[in-house]
């Protein structure tokens, strides 16, 4: 009984293998700032079920998470904590700005709201909406997976905001 070697070996590059692994195990950080966080909670429920895309393990600790989902209004008082938690996350790490407030400040053209989280941390995917439907989170996750797929080992993201 000989082993059929040709049908059991796949040739690929290590980069593609690593990206494939990363792509299907994006662990999000539970980081709800306002009402958009509820949509994120629903995204983990049975009807939407983000576990289908390998992203169900929401971590309470930044050390164990890959994805920071900034869901909600970011006030200026909260901004240092967001930056601190982002910097505590281990590389590789990605950020989704979820909701209008996280993208641009939304309706809060105000003295106490940061006009978009991209002013303090680099953002990979923007999801507009007030709030976005939980399906939008899946779209953002798939977009992020497409992005991770194309990443190369040589070109790493910036660790801190430019």
């Amino acid at each position: 009984m000989g082993v059929d070697i040709e049908r059991n070996i796949v040739v690929t590059s290590i980069e593609k293998l690593v990206n494939w692994g990363r792509k299907y195990s994006v662990w999000p950080l539970t980081f709800g700032l306002a009402c958009c966080a509820l949509e994120f909670i629903v995204a983990g429920s049975a009807t939407i079920d983000m576990a289908r895309f390998g992203s169900e393990v929401a971590r309470p600790s930044p050390r164990q998470a890959d994805l920071m989902l900034v869901a909600g209004t970011l006030t200026k008082k909260m901004a240092p904590m967001v930056k601190r938690i982002y910097e505590q996350m281990a590389e590789p790490k990605w950020v989704i700005a979820f909701g209008s407030c996280a993208c641009t400040g939304g309706i809060f053209k105000s003295y106490n709201v940061v006009q978009g989280v991209d002013q303090i941390i680099p953002v990979d995917v923007y999801v507009p909406g007030c709030p976005p439907r939980p399906e939008s989170f899946l779209t953002a996750l798939i977009k992020l997976q497409e992005k991770i797929e194309k990443e190369t080992v040589k070109e790493r993201k910036l660790i801190t905001a430019p």
Partner: protein, 164 residues
């Protein structure tokens, strides 16, 4: 009963009271700033008054008028169940004596009023911002403060705790 209280207040502080208003059963005393601490101490500790609960303390900005700022005290007597509103117009300056030694609740309320209006409370134990960050410039509830803040067009620079 409340009218007895008012009579006693007028008897003791008549010269310092600018006006007493009554509307829909709510009583408001407008007191002059030089005696507001004494009046509030009287309202707090006098056996007959016993306004032992400070419900709220807030500021008002009448931009364009002189004096500009007003501080409002909402008092309640736990024993008698009646309420009293005391208003004081600040005398030109934006400074007034603290009442945090009369009611412990006034401590944070005065910090909030300072944060939002820039009204300084003399002899307050720890007068610093309570809601906004320490490096914030301006006082947002003043009528001449723009809703977007002063440096809205500039990119926001976040400072971590150790950098401030």
């Amino acid at each position: 009963m409340i009218s007895d209280k008012l009579d006693k207040i007028i008897k003791n502080f008549g010269t310092y009271i600018a006006a007493i208003k009554e509307e829909k059963g709510e009583r408001t005393i407008l007191v002059k700033p030089e005696a507001h601490k004494e009046l509030l101490r009287f309202l707090r500790y006098d056996e007959e008054m016993s306004y032992d609960m400070l419900i709220d303390l807030c500021g008002v900005d009448y931009l364009g008028e002189n004096p500009r700022f007003e501080v409002v005290y909402l008092l309640r007597s736990m024993r008698d169940g009646d309420r009293l509103r005391v208003k004081v117009r600040l005398n030109g300056e934006d400074e007034i004596e603290t009442v945090s030694d009369l009611w412990r609740a006034a401590d944070w309320l005065e910090r909030e009023t300072y944060d939002m209006f820039g009204i300084r409370f003399r002899n307050h134990p720890d007068l610093r911002r309570i809601l906004l960050s320490d490096d914030f410039s301006g006082h947002p509830l003043r009528k001449d403060f723009p809703a977007e803040g002063f440096d809205f067009d500039k990119p926001f620079e976040v400072k971590l705790e150790e950098e401030i």
